[in-house]
């Protein structure tokens, strides 16, 4: 009984955070929302009983991807100065 409710809740969170990433306008804020979105995707994978995929998803999309985007944004901002 609790598992379908958990799956539905996590899927709703994924939809909400994905919409938030799109509706934000500032790239730096979008990056933070992207990290949160990656964490929600990993939660979906955990709840659907695929922990290996979830571990990869957490590290790549919540840590490494935002870092790379922020580093490139910092470089672009400095170049335009």
């Amino acid at each position: 009984m609790i598992l379908p409710v958990l799956q539905a809740a996590v899927l709703v969170l994924v939809a909400a955070s994905g919409t938030a990433v799109v509706l934000l306008r500032d790239p730096v804020r979008q990056v933070i929302a992207l990290g949160f979105f990656g964490l929600q995707l990993a939660a979906v994978c955990f709840v659907l009983q695929a922990p290996d995929v979830a571990l990869s998803a957490i590290t790549v999309s919540a840590v490494l991807l935002p870092l790379m985007i922020v580093a490139v944004l910092a470089r672009m901002r400095e170049d335009s100065r």
Partner: protein, 249 residues
């Protein structure tokens, strides 16, 4: 097209897509009911035959190990592409990291050091216990790279660049990918197929229980961690240290 017309077009297309997706979802098999017999056969034979308790790892490295070589080479190519794109050009020169970053807050330093150490330890655990619990070389290598990111956040650019020089990361990444292929080739003199598991099985549940899975995953872990760290170092070097050459060209 005006903006409201675009919006209506998107809504119409989105409604059609939603209808088709909903109709497709009703035709899916139930959650956990695998229609193909291969899954049942692997689940039955995986633990006693291969000596491992994580079936996903066994499928990745034992039954379909050749595909994992392709995955590893994809990562290798991506890292090589980043290194080539961010190479030192003639119009750039290496300078000092500008003090554009504010003084690091003590909370950031302590939190980064503590959580980074935990992330590194967890990454080593994931790499070596791939065949027992969910994890493996790719996930463990990415966790080690996350630990290194936290080290960078805590300590700054100079300590990270001194701890991990470029030649060390490049050597580690290349040797990790090469060791994987060498382990595969090492089965050939034993009379078995390429990448076939010829090492003896230990008892189920111990770290050495699955033959060549652990050495392969250690090699993959080293290669993935070094690859991610190399990408990180290249991007940070480009951002903090490389400056356009001033004066006459």
């Amino acid at each position: 097209m005006t903006a409201p017309a675009r919006r209506w077009a998107f809504l119409a297309g989105g409604a059609v897509l939603l209808g088709l997706l909903g109709w497709a979802m009703t035709g899916l098999p139930g959650f956990g009911a695998a229609p193909a017999p291969v899954g049942q056969a692997i689940a039955r034979a995986g633990v006693p035959e291969r000596g491992a308790t994580d079936i996903v790892t066994i499928v990745n490295l034992d039954y379909r190990g050749f595909d994992t070589i392709g995955e590893e080479l994809i990562l290798f190519t991506a890292v090589a592409a980043v290194v080539v794109l961010l190479r030192r050009e003639r119009t750039e020169v290496e300078g000092e990291p500008e003090d554009i970053e504010p003084a690091r807050d003590e909370a950031v330093v302590v939190a980064g050091a503590a959580i980074g150490a935990l992330a590194l330890l967890f990454g080593f655990y994931l790499v070596t216990h791939g065949q027992l619990t969910p994890g493996g070389g790719f996930q463990g290598g990415a966790s080690i790279a996350s630990g290194l990111v936290l080290v960078y956040l805590a300590a700054g650019y100079r300590p990270l660049a001194r701890l991990l020089p470029e030649w060390l990361l490049e050597a580690a990444e290349g040797s990790g990918a090469g060791t994987f292929i060498a382990i595969g080739l090492a089965s050939l003199p034993a009379g078995a197929a390429f990448l076939q598991d010829v090492l003896p099985r230990g008892e189920v549940g111990s770290v050495d229980s699955a033959g060549t899975v652990t050495p392969i995953y250690v090699a993959i872990g080293v290669a993935v961690a070094a690859g991610f760290a190399l990408i990180l170092l290249e991007i940070l070097t480009q951002e903090e240290v490389i400056r356009p050459r001033r004066g006459r060209r």
